[in-house]
Amino acid sequence: MRKCVLVVEDDHILQEMYCEKFEMNDFQVTKASTGKEGLDRLKKKIPDIILLDVLMPDMNGLEMLKEMKKMREYREIPVILLTNLGESKIDMDQELSFALGVQNYLVKTKHTPDDVLNKVKQILKLKV
């Protein structure tokens, strides 16, 4: 059975990149550009894993996470946080995000799509 990944990313090129990588690797991919859109997608289908950007307009990643934790059906979805933030804000948010049940924390420039894919596979206990 194909695993489903939700990519929440406001930058269209990055969104396209992650989508392509996962589609190529036989994932079912849904995408969203803001936190709100992400929550909408969850209503239609609950994914196996979420790739979540932090800085987004409208509703940012952490806010979306908080919303998700309020609902029992979303609470257990594994989340990988993707970020480009390099400020202390994110260092502080790191604690918060782990508290919110984030499985992993990847800095976009430092991790290639392959790294992300591997991380996802690891979490979903698929063959790397």
């Binding site: 930058d11 090129i13 990149m17 190529m24 202390s88 976009k108 420039t109 290639t112 392959d114």
Partner: protein
């Protein structure tokens, strides 16, 4: 029983038996002559009359010798005296011999002194008592009286005997008078010089006094200004209202300008006449007035009679006294003028400098504060003297280690910490004189909250302690804001750069991963170059971000006990590709043993149990930077060693290489921002110039240290000291 007889009585008896009967009258007269002590002048006149009557001379003069060796006439109140050895009387007194001069007009010895022309003969008999010369008895004979010359020797002896008394008393009173006059003059001149009037008025007062004391025609004062060559200012009786500028003749100028040779009285009668309208021939004498070692002025003494040859000691003393008093006054004036000027100069600087300056005492109380300091600290008080330094502002936060800032939640606690730290520094400053380097503090005053920079420099030190210190404050809020703006800008830009870089990186990795189909070698090579360049860009952005974070103080250190050997082992593993490509041999050792890097087994606690207290991620960054650097600057097949030693407080991590080394000049700027060092490998290495800056900042934020030792062409040793972890993790 023998009657006791004095020398005088014996002599009298001798004369009585030998002289003519009419001489009996002389003894009668002399016996009747009474010395009246409170009217010596009259007594002298009386005695002279007797002497003239019995000697047949046309004139008689009694002269006494004062304590300075001058002969004075007793009959006249004002006169100039003869020096011992000068004139008939002077010679007689000096030689203690009676002189008989018959044809005085033709005697060259006495021409100059103007002995009275009418006299043709003269007798000068020194009056000696107990071998001391008391004075001289002069008898003069005009042409008419010449037949009575010379008088009887015995008669002279009788006269001398009688004159003795009067001279003894006159000398005594005269000496008292001189002392008294000197004292009066001293008192008067001191009083004038200390009076609260202008120098001109003082000099005018002195002029009047001196003329009164010694009855001379005039004195004036010439002021010499070295800037106005060949001219002087004069204050004299004629031009007493204001200073008048006078052109000097060459000779006078010479006297003024010469430093030697004018220590004493100089006769300038010759040169004076050339600029004086006064046709009367005057003796003009100068006496210098010294202000310090410099001649500031001259006293000009004008008189028809008195000159350099016949000033009495009293007069000389008077001029010397006047000169010395005026000289002291001038020197003092000049000194106080200098002090006032200097004080004014410093006051101007103190008041107008654009930085706040506070003088504080050892107990941290303000001695003085300049207007700018008051402005910065927002106080309206005109004087802050006596106020406690810390009563003027509260330190909210200092620009200290990020550690403090990270746990800034308890602001009050940290405010105290900063205040205590600064207090300690000030105390140590007073003890050791060690300057306090500029440091930024965020403070709160009545004017609100802002950033200031505080530094402190040594001021007056006495007995090895600073008596007061100069606190220097500067409002650096603008600079601080700019810095913050810059850093925020940098971090924003970096973030914006990261997104496209991530996309490039991602797509490239996918292409190179053959996600879009296989590539030929040429394509792989070119795309690898793009990937490398992209990675450099990523690293640069990361470094810039790190720097801005460090400078903003926006990062946490989650300190824990970190097994440093394990950590370094992992870092080496991460860098293995680079190490292998340069065929470099890396050795990791601790004080106990070598650590085998080839075995791909994790080090256990048994192997090395050296723990540092550090943020794990930051520690990795530190070691990555140092080892990566070592790899970059080591030639192929070189060696790198990492050695660990643990001490009581610090763990020492040495990173050694036998690479290209760093020149001493470069070592100095090694830990500065964007300092790239020029050596053959640096271009190839392609760093950002931020690595070691970040490394040092991170190490010091942990309370550690980093040092470098290097010899060009031989290699480099970086020594890092990190705090030892006292509590080990519970495993």
């Amino acid at each position: 029983m023998l009657e006791e007889k004095t020398g005088g009585q014996l002599l009298e008896r001798k004369i009585r038996s030998s002289v003519k009967p009419e001489m009996q009258e002389l003894f009668f007269d002399l016996a009747n002559f009474k010395l009246i002590l409170n009217n010596l002048h009259q007594s002298t006149t009386e005695l002279r009359k007797i002497l003239i009557k019995y000697s047949g001379a046309s004139g008689a003069t009694l002269m006494f010798l004062d304590k300075y060796g001058y002969l004075w006439k007793t009959s006249e109140k004002t006169t100039f005296p003869f020096k011992l050895g000068v004139g008939v009387a002077g010679l007689a007194a000096q030689n203690k011999r009676t002189l008989y001069i018959k044809n005085i007009k033709n005697d060259d010895r006495f021409k100059v002194l103007g002995e009275r022309r009418s006299n043709s003969a003269m007798i000068a008999k020194p009056i000696i008592k107990n071998s001391n010369v008391l004075g001289v008895l002069n008898l003069t004979y005009s042409k008419k009286a010449i037949e009575n010359f010379p008088p009887d020797k015995a008669l002279l002896d009788i006269f001398a005997n009688k004159v003795e008394d009067i001279l003894e008393n006159v000398t005594y009173f005269h000496n008292i008078n001189i002392d008294r006059n000197e004292l009066i003059a001293r008192r008067d001149i001191n009083r004038i010089m200390e009076s609260q009037v202008s120098l001109n008025q003082k000099l005018e007062e002195i002029r009047k006094k001196i003329i009164n004391y010694i009855k001379i025609n005039d004195i004036s004062f010439l002021f010499y200004d070295p800037k106005l060559q060949n001219s002087v200012y004069t204050i004299s009786s004629a031009k007493r209202k204001k200073l008048k500028r006078i052109e000097l003749t060459n000779k006078l100028a010479e006297i003024f300008q010469s430093k030697q040779g004018v220590q004493d009285f100089v006769d300038v009668s010759d040169c004076y006449s050339t600029f004086s309208k006064d046709k009367n021939k005057l003796h003009i004498t100068t006496y210098p007035i010294f202000s310090g070692s410099r001649i500031a002025a001259f006293i000009l003494i004008k008189d028809q009679m008195k000159n350099i040859d016949n000033f009495s000691t009293y007069e000389r003393n008077l001029f010397r006294l006047t000169s010395s008093r005026i000289g002291k006054y001038l020197a003092r004036e000049q000194f106080s003028k200098k002090i006032i000027e200097e004080k004014e100069r410093w006051r101007l600087i103190f008041h107008n400098v654009d930085d706040g300056i506070l003088l504080i005492s050892q107990d941290k109380k303000i001695i003085e504060a300049n207007p700018k300091a008051r402005e910065i600290l927002g106080t309206k008080k005109k004087s802050l003297s006596g106020q406690d330094l810390f009563s003027l502002f509260k330190i909210i936060n200092s620009d200290v280690s990020t550690e403090a800032i990270s746990s800034i939640r308890n602001i009050n606690k940290f405010q105290r910490v900063d205040e205590i730290a600064l207090t300690k520094k000030i105390d140590s400053f007073f003890k050791t004189g060690k300057n306090i380097r500029p440091k930024e503090y965020y403070i709160e005053t009545k004017n609100g909250k802002f950033w200031i920079e505080i530094s402190m420099n040594t001021a007056l030190r006495r007995w090895g302690e600073s008596v007061f210190g100069v606190v220097h404050i500067r409002n650096v809020t603008k600079r601080k804001e700019l810095e913050q703006d810059k850093n925020e800008f940098m971090s924003m830009v970096s973030h914006e750069l990261r997104t496209p870089l991530s996309a490039m990186n991602g797509f490239l990795s996918m292409i190179l991963n053959n996600d879009y189909g296989s590539l030929n070698e040429r394509q792989i090579k070119s795309l690898s170059r793009i990937a490398e360049s992209n990675e450099r860009m990523v690293n640069l952005v990361e470094d810039i971000l790190d720097v801005s974070r460090i400078e903003l103080g926006k990062y946490n250190l989650n300190k824990e006990a970190v097994n440093i050997a394990d950590l370094i082992y992992n870092v080496i593993q991460d860098l293995n590709t680079k190490i292998k490509s340069k065929k470099i041999e890396v050795k990791l050792s601790s004080q106990n043993r070598n650590i085998n890097l080839k075995k791909n087994t994790r080090l256990s606690k048994n192997n090395t149990d050296i723990y540092v207290l550090a943020d794990r991620d930051r520690m990795i960054q530190i070691m990555q930077n140092l080892i990566d650097n070592a790899i970059k600057y080591t030639l192929e097949k070189g060696n790198i060693g990492i050695h660990l030693t643990t001490g009581e407080k610090f763990v020492e991590i040495k990173v050694l290489d036998n690479g290209v080394g760093i020149s001493p000049e470069d070592q100095a700027k090694l830990f500065k921002r964007f300092s790239r060092i020029h050596n053959p490998l640096s271009i190839q290495a392609g760093g950002t110039g931020l690595g070691l800056y970040i490394t040092k900042k991170l190490i010091t934020a942990h309370g550690g240290q980093i040092d470098v030792k290097s010899t060009p062409q031989k290699g480099t040793i970086f020594t890092v000291k990190m705090p030892v972890a006292k509590q080990l993790p519970l495993i």
